[in-house]
């Protein structure tokens, strides 16, 4: 037994050594950024799109883009001028959608790859464990898309979150409804329909709380399982209550099911809002976009006016993916990368403490944003206080931006039309 074990261990050891122990700096003078995303598992699609978005970002910084260079200082090409023109090298790792793999990979990127900073890790639970390792090692961790509230409540000094959180979404909806109420539309009777896992539960409860503060009462709250094969009971319940405003927090297959069932039972509210996710999935938009005409949604991405930063980035990205546009998730990853690139450039060093200081001093204007934020500026907890969402509306099978005014490309049309 002893012999077998030892032989096996040694074979494994040799294989591991060959793969894991590489020189700290692979290319001369390139600065390494570790990126942890779900590249396999349930969220692999989202992870792989984000990966491509970051590659677009790195390509723009390293090789430049003439149009973007007029709007963003770092798009001139030739790497980071503040860091001796160092190019950026992205080192990707797969978190497999598990908190354990995320933490193991974070440790590897920090200690073996010697990355200057980390970006990741999509799922809130994975971000939590991966950033804990970065904190212990004193390496900056920039998060682009995890919305769990507790992430910035841990007293961490190396954690920076660029994305808006559920509270920002709730405020965006609430503000939208206030405007509609002022315009004389009925908003008294509000129904909330949410799927019952982490996403639906957490966002749902935040919306209810924020609405209460703003004087909107959520009269009907329906939780359901996203795996359901039939939502007739829920839609019948809605039909009976007949709310003025209906808010969905749903994944893709259930979004499709609700859309079809509402049409079958021929019921629609005056205003229908969907919290991104399923209703923004390209698969949903392509097949059922025409059935939810006038649906209100939120997104971190809005292509905006031609020649704007998001529009230009979107063109490069679409070329890379072969047709898929930037969306809510990939644009937030790309924005996180641009924030880190800016901080590295100002830090003028790969020393963690200097990067941390530069991140703290980040102050990017709305005009340089690829995501629909008002800018980037971190508070003491590392949360971007200028994070925001744009409000969009479905028009002829495509989402157009209707709020805020600066980014809007169209006026809102109500009531909800549906099919």
């Amino acid at each position: 037994m002893a012999k077998t074990t030892r032989r096996m261990t040694m074979t494994g050891a040799a294989a591991l050594a060959a793969g894991l122990i590489r020189p700290a700096m692979a290319q001369d003078g390139a600065v390494k950024i570790g990126v942890i995303y779900p590249l396999s598992g349930n969220s692999a699609t989202a992870g792989n799109y984000s990966k491509m978005a970051l590659e677009v970002g790195a390509d723009v910084v390293n090789n430049g883009n003439a149009d973007l260079a007029k709007l963003i200082p770092l798009a001139k090409g030739g790497g980071l001028p503040g860091l001796k023109n160092a190019k950026i090298q992205l080192v990707f790792a797969d978190n497999q959608g598990t908190p354990a793999a995320g933490q193991n990979q974070a440790l590897r990127l920090i200690t073996e790859e010697k990355v200057a900073a980390l970006i990741g890790a999509y799922q809130s639970g994975v971000t939590l464990t991966a950033s804990a390792i970065a904190e212990r090692h004193g390496i900056p961790f920039v998060n682009g898309e995890s919305v769990a509230a507790n992430l910035t409540e841990r007293g961490f000094k190396w954690f920076f979150r660029v994305t808006p959180v559920a509270l920002d979404f709730a405020r965006a909806y609430s503000d939208f409804l206030k405007v509609q109420k002022a315009a004389g539309r009925k908003t008294d009777n509000i129904a909330l329909v949410h799927e019952n896992t982490e996403y639906g539960n957490s966002v749902g409860s935040v919306i209810v709380d924020q609405f209460k503060k703003d004087g909107f009462a959520v009269g009907t709250k329906i939780a359901y399982s996203a795996n359901s094969s039939d939502v007739q009971p829920q839609v019948l319940q809605l039909k009976e209550k007949n709310p003025d405003v209906l808010i969905f927090i749903s994944y893709t297959s259930d979004a499709i099911l609700y859309t079809k069932t509402m049409k079958e039972l021929n019921w629609k509210p005056g205003i229908m809002i969907a919290d991104n996710a399923g209703f923004n999935d390209p698969a949903f938009v392509k097949s059922l976009g025409s059935q939810v005409e006038g649906l209100i949604n939120r997104s971190a991405f809005s292509a905006g006016k031609a020649g704007s930063v998001p529009d230009l980035f979107n063109k490069i990205y679409t070329k890379k993916t072969g047709g898929d546009e930037l969306d809510d998730v990939s644009v937030r990853g790309l924005q996180a990368f641009m924030v880190l690139a800016d901080a590295l450039n100002r830090a003028g060093s790969t020393e963690p403490a200097k990067i941390q200081a530069a991140l703290k001093a980040t102050d990017l204007p709305a005009s340089q944003m690829v995501a629909g934020y008002d800018g980037v500026k971190f508070d003491d907890k590392g949360q971007n206080v200028k994070a925001a969402s744009v409000v969009t509306q479905m028009r002829g099978g495509k989402y157009v931006t209707i709020a805020p005014k600066e980014r809007a490309t169209a006026e809102v049309i109500l009531p909800y039309k549906g099919w």
Partner: protein
């Protein structure tokens, strides 16, 4: 004489491992991960290997351990490790509650029942606010005292896991040689024959199941101390149950060191394939991982340790 020397060298290597890998945090951590997985798989081995009752729901106990640790922190501000004994006691009670009705089921039906219970617990846990619901719960973000077991290096974890594994393997070794060990193997070979000879099969299967559950729970608590977070999927997910079974079966179920050997192969393989191939995003990791498991299962159906048995037999000839 030679044999003792071999064991001595091996023991020294195991003890010195964290010092030998001082320069590489990843290697040090890998050692700890192997031991942690070996604790879970060795715990399963008592009921799955020796008694032949193939539970595919050990994540229930693992999850109870992990959640007990994080719950005492969240609700009572205790260090997570203080939840370990609570988890073990709870797991023994749960094992009794699950075991009394399900251990009557023969063979595959028992396995199916354990899967069902596992999934049920996972779904229930995701609706419980006390357990943090679907979002899960995190341990102490910042270490408050040494009892929070929040170390930068993996070496302390390595030695803690090693101590637990040694205790567990010692206990298993003792059971193997005791009356209970003979009973369990008799039940595994033929429960009917064992019963006809006066073995109270139900009782001993239950003992094995409870003991197994307690240690699987301990593995869960230790996991939480190291990783600091658990949600329904990473605590009660079916993948955990499956990994535990695969590890024990690969090394050799029903053999003292079988699960450890399985962990020694699978854990580095998983980490290595993910580190080398994961970043490309082609999903290659699991293809390679799965292929190697299939190859081993094809050529060594009774586990890697059966290689050694075969050699012994040839030598005896």
């Amino acid at each position: 004489m030679k044999r003792w020397l071999l064991w001595g060298v091996l023991g020294a290597l195991v003890l010195a491992y964290p010092l030998l890998t001082e320069g590489s945090a990843v290697w040090q951590r890998l050692g700890a991960l192997v031991l942690l997985a070996a604790i879970g798989a060795s715990a399963w081995n008592i009921v799955g290997g020796y008694a032949g009752q193939v539970s595919v729901g050990h994540a229930v106990f693992f999850g109870f351990g992990a959640y007990s640790a994080v719950v005492v922190y969240t609700h009572l501000q205790w260090p997570p490790i203080a939840g370990a004994p609570i988890g073990m006691i709870l797991s023994m009670l749960v094992a009794a509650a699950i075991g009394v009705p399900t251990l009557r089921l023969a063979g595959h039906y028992f396995s199916m029942a354990t899967i069902a219970v596992g999934e049920l617990v996972r779904v229930l846990s995701s609706t419980s606010d006390f357990l943090g619901g679907a979002q899960g719960l995190g341990g102490p973000a910042m270490p408050r005292s040494v009892f929070d077991l929040s170390f930068i290096s993996a070496a302390p974890f390595y030695y803690i896991f090693l101590a637990v594994l040694t205790l567990l393997l010692g206990l298993t070794w003792w059971i193997e040689r005791s009356r209970m060990g003979f009973y369990l193997r008799a039940i595994k070979d033929s429960e009917r024959a064992a019963r006809s000879l006066g073995v109270s099969a139900g009782q001993y299967k239950l003992y094995a199941y409870m003991l197994s559950g307690a240690f699987a729970s301990l593995a869960g608590s230790l996991y939480l101390c190291m990783f600091g977070f658990v949600d329904p999927e990473s605590g009660f997910g079916i993948l955990i149950s499956v990994k535990i079974v695969v590890m024990a079966a690969l090394g050799g179920a029903g053999q003292l060191f079988g699960p450890l050997v399985g962990a020694l192969i699978l854990v580095p393989l998983e980490e290595l394939s993910n580190s080398l191939l994961g970043g490309q995003g082609a999903g290659l990791t699991f293809v390679v991982y799965g292929a190697i498991i299939v190859i081993i299962a094809r050529f060594l159906p009774s586990g890697l340790l059966s290689l050694l048995e075969r050699r012994k037999v040839t030598r005896a000839d």
